[in-house]
């Protein structure tokens, strides 16, 4: 049977139902596309917790986080660790952020209802087999700083996959890979790709497709294999098919 992610059950479903209201700060968020919560394993088999920033257009369509260009860079990073499935990803914010991680956004991220709810979520994701937390970017780094549960866990703080300078980003990621490789157990049957990022720009070979097991049932088979969506207006997204057959 083709793999897919049926969505959360039990405590995660309940926790997401009980998400904090963003009403008071809605001017900074793309509320109209709704909240988007996670990608990956919720069944306790994740050994790495990944923290990103906020969903963009590809994620609005897929209803999972880190599936577009940034997500495919992260997936390539995980391949270098030998991780094919034993990870779970959540974001700093459940709605798309308008603008950058500026002081106001950080203040929102640290506000009591949002921080408390997110810390509860991270506590639920942390298990006895958590080997590392990878916080991509400044927003995610703050999330970890605000999370008491991070104490005792190895936390990597690489630059965000959408960082403006590719060369700097790749150099930065290369500094984190060896530290993570000593701590993260590869998935069974998966050989870590031990090559560092070479050259100044991301090539197709540096990216990895989003696995079908991370996506909802019945999505086109090209979902998560390229850049598929962008906003054409605040309330409209263009969604492009990436192959002749879906």
């Amino acid at each position: 049977m083709a793999e897919f992610d049926p969505g959360p059950t039990g405590a995660f479903a309940t926790h997401w139902d009980n998400r904090p209201s963003y009403s008071a700060v809605k001017a900074r968020f793309r509320m109209n596309w709704g909240p988007i919560y996670y990608r990956g394993r919720l069944d306790g088999t994740a050994r790495v917790i990944i923290i990103g920033q906020d969903p963009a257009a590809d994620e609005n369509v897929a209803r999972r986080i880190l599936v577009g260009a940034a997500g495919q860079r992260v997936q390539g990073f995980l391949r270098k660790l030998g991780l094919a499935k034993s990870y779970v990803m959540v974001n700093t914010f459940i709605y798309g952020l308008k603008g950058q991680i500026d002081p106001e956004a950080k203040q929102i991220s640290g506000s009591a209802p949002i921080k408390t709810w997110r810390n509860q979520l991270l506590d639920m994701l942390k298990t006895g087999q958590t080997e590392a937390v990878i916080a991509f970017g400044a927003g995610a780094a703050q999330v970890v700083d605000l999370w008491p549960g991070a104490s005792g866990l190895f936390v990597a703080r690489p630059l965000h996959p959408s960082f403006r300078d590719d060369a700097q980003l790749r150099t930065n990621w290369n500094t984190w890979l060896p530290q993570l490789r000593t701590r993260v157990t590869p998935d069974p049957g998966v050989t870590p790709d031990s090559t560092p990022y070479a050259g100044a720009t991301f090539k197709k070979s540096d990216l990895a497709d989003i696995p079908a097991r991370d996506l909802p049932f019945g999505v086109p088979k090209w979902m998560g294999t390229g850049d598929m969506a962008w906003r054409t207006a605040p309330t409209q997204i263009a969604w492009k098919s990436l192959a002749a057959e879906g």
Copy 2:
């Protein structure tokens, strides 16, 4: 916990994995958006089997059938029968059809691999508690004619919800409702809406929103409440948010 449809399990997932190839007839279908299979109950609790024609842009986005304008008309029809959840819907074709149900399309629908696979699916949907089959439109009527398993079942053959003449469509649907009401048991706690369609055009009050339990996890809460998507090019869909909060 908020309801959603996690997708198929077991025999249905396997059957959909084993879908027939449309390669030989791909000129007539929008293959790039992928196959879309169903909406509603797969757990044996459906008392009515609904057959539609093929998915359009709203269905491409939602990855469930009959969720757009036509689907909301069908949902309003089901409300008149007192059905809130005990139904399952499948289509004549799993890909979007280019053009109308013409002789060529009917020939494709009746070709051995497509017909045989679809009949197996319908056999899986038919249970001891199936009270009626509702085949909307000419494509679906042919599907039932080609399905040996329909023998012994009550089959309604109303016009398709996208029929070009609203007045004629509404009159036609009014002729089927009384026949179906005598056969279909309303869902517990649901009072059938016994009023016929009045006037020549569809009003908002004739439509019903697609229930969250029929849609995948985590979709915006306005999904299935209006017309949200349309094709802007063969490989591109515009997806519009229908409310300030999703």
